[in-house]
């Protein structure tokens, strides 16, 4: 009997993640392949957030170089082909990372449900919003929405939002020598950092700061809330001023995470 031919995957296979608000239950990771692909493009393949995702899930580096804007752009265009089947490897990485943080959120009770929406965050800084399915999962605090839009406009090589405007440097003072020295200082500081330390300082702390700041930035001038109220998570989280690297490491261990150097 001839073996059945191996059929190529025709579409993205959707998976589920644990529901942080309902232990033992799971929730679909995005409603359909189109939404899944859009979120992969918006978060894992868009600067500056893509660099942070490489710290959360280092296997991303095998799929795309986050520093290469052209490569990310090509990857983003290819997601929608073949009904998202080409997105499966990235989708699986995304899903695994979010699922792990959903388990953290359940363990530490870093989640809040209001009405039909649940907002949760894990120890890697992944912010998850769940309705009937996962609506979004991203790394907050990696740059404002303007930076994301501009990064998606394929103007590769353009400086990120935090490197423009007021912080772009005074030409009479901040010459190439100074910039080079700054870059060397960062390399020197971080050369002995483990991946976990980079994850904590570059991803987790900015994420928690974003949630705190959203108390005052997710509303109009009259204080009417707009969009998902991430500030609902604030009471669940430890005081940021008291969450240092050692304490964060202990929380990770409490969630069953091994030291992933």
């Amino acid at each position: 009997m001839e073996p059945s031919p191996i059929m190529p995957q025709e579409r993205l296979t959707l998976r589920s993640i644990p529901d942080p608000a309902s232990p033992g239950q799971s929730v679909l990771f995005f409603q359909d392949w189109e939404r899944a692909c859009r979120h992969i493009a918006d978060h894992m393949l868009t600067a500056p957030e893509c660099e942070a995702w490489a710290l959360v899930t280092p296997a991303l580096l095998q799929q795309v170089n986050p520093s290469d804007g052209d490569a990310r752009w090509r990857c983003s265009l290819g997601l929608r082909e073949s009904n998202g089947a080409a997105a499966q490897p990235l989708y699986d990485l995304y899903c695994d990372a979010v699922a792990r943080d959903a388990l953290d959120a359940s363990c530490l009770q870093w989640c809040h449900t209001q009405g039909s929406l649940t907002v949760a965050i894990g120890t890697s800084g992944v912010l998850i919003v769940i309705g009937k399915v996962v609506l979004t999962a991203f790394l907050p605090g990696q740059g404002d929405s303007q930076a994301t839009r501009e990064s998606q406009s394929r103007e590769t090589g353009a400086p990120l939002a935090r490197e423009r405007g007021m912080r772009s440097g005074r030409s009479s003072h901040r010459d190439d020598q100074v910039r080079r020295r700054d870059a060397e200082a960062q390399v020197r500081r971080e050369k002995d950092w483990t991946r976990e330390q980079k994850l904590f300082y570059r991803v987790v702390r900015p994420a928690l700061q974003f949630i705190r700041r959203s108390q005052h930035t997710q509303c109009d001038m009259l204080g009417t809330r707009s969009g998902t109220d991430y500030a609902l998570l604030k009471p669940c989280l430890p005081p940021l001023s008291r969450l240092d690297y050692e304490q964060w490491t202990m929380l990770r261990q409490q969630c069953g995470r091994r030291d992933e150097q």
Binding site: D144, G165, R174, M221, G223, G227, L240
Partner: protein
Amino acid sequence: MSDGPYVDNRLAATKAGIPKALVETEYCVAQLQDALALDGESTVAAYDLLANWARVRRIRLELLEQLGGTEELARADDMVRERGAELARLALAVPNPQAWLEETRFALDNAYAMPLATDVRSQLATRLLTDLDDAELVLYAARRSGIEDAELDEELLECNAWVAHNADLFLAASVHVQAVGMTLRPDLEQYDYGLAVTAIKFQELLEAAAGAEEQLGLAHVQPLPARVVSRLLRDCVREKSRHAFTIARLALRQRAEERVLAAAAPESTASSPDFWEWKSPQDDRRARLILPTGPEASAADPVILAFYDATRERATAMAGETVVLCGIQATVTDRGTVDFPQREFLSSDQPLQLKVGTNLTEWELLTDSTHRLAEPSA
């Protein structure tokens, strides 16, 4: 509620308790912690250290004590005391007020030209304001360490003047501004005049917010109870419907006149009839008034009002009920219809109101086409 020169209790968000001084303070202390960890090694690290140190110095002591932030402030005080001049020379390489002006003009103009979400505008305005605040605080810190920068001072004055003249563009960050104001020492001017200068823009933005809220008519308005809002909405819809009645009657008269002319015109395909519909108070019945157009219609034809039940069949159970339409009284036939003499109907000056039953209960005119019944069977 807080008080002082940096708090405006007239503002809606402040009155509602939405801006939280402790949340803003915790954010600032955490930023200083992160900056201390970087030890001012690079220009940006030095910039962040000095900006966040000065920012925390502006904060009310009781808030810092409540969060245990005095320890971070003390560490930063020591660092600035020992290395202030060195940090200032590094930090002053960073701020570019001209670039900030360009970015801010472009970004905020676009933010209101595009359909951006409210939180996106708010985050953008907050970031830009914070960027300006950082630069002013760094200049202050440099000055305290004996380092002057007249060029930067002048450029930042220009930025502040622009903010003052375009304060409305920063209203999206109003809640953030109110929160910052709540953290500031009420005696800041006496405590450190140089720091108080950096807070002037927040006072100006608070004033602009108060002016905007007053113009919107919201400053002295208390929220209405839900039942009052519901009644007002119902009255508004009814008033709009009455206006529609007048237009509808004019249309009916016009069509009657047009029918006379159309009778003399060449044969044409019949057009779809226009109709007006009402619903019963219990929403279990509909009434439909049809004025057919076309050359076959004559002035002798009655204007027919037909009643339908929930199954969309003629409401023959209503036979014998009294109906008043445009002030003309009639009785529902056993076919579930009412025939109004056309001439009498069109010459009535009464509003297009429908009242049904012994109590002459008014039915609601439906002006929304989505509520229309499917075309009934002949």
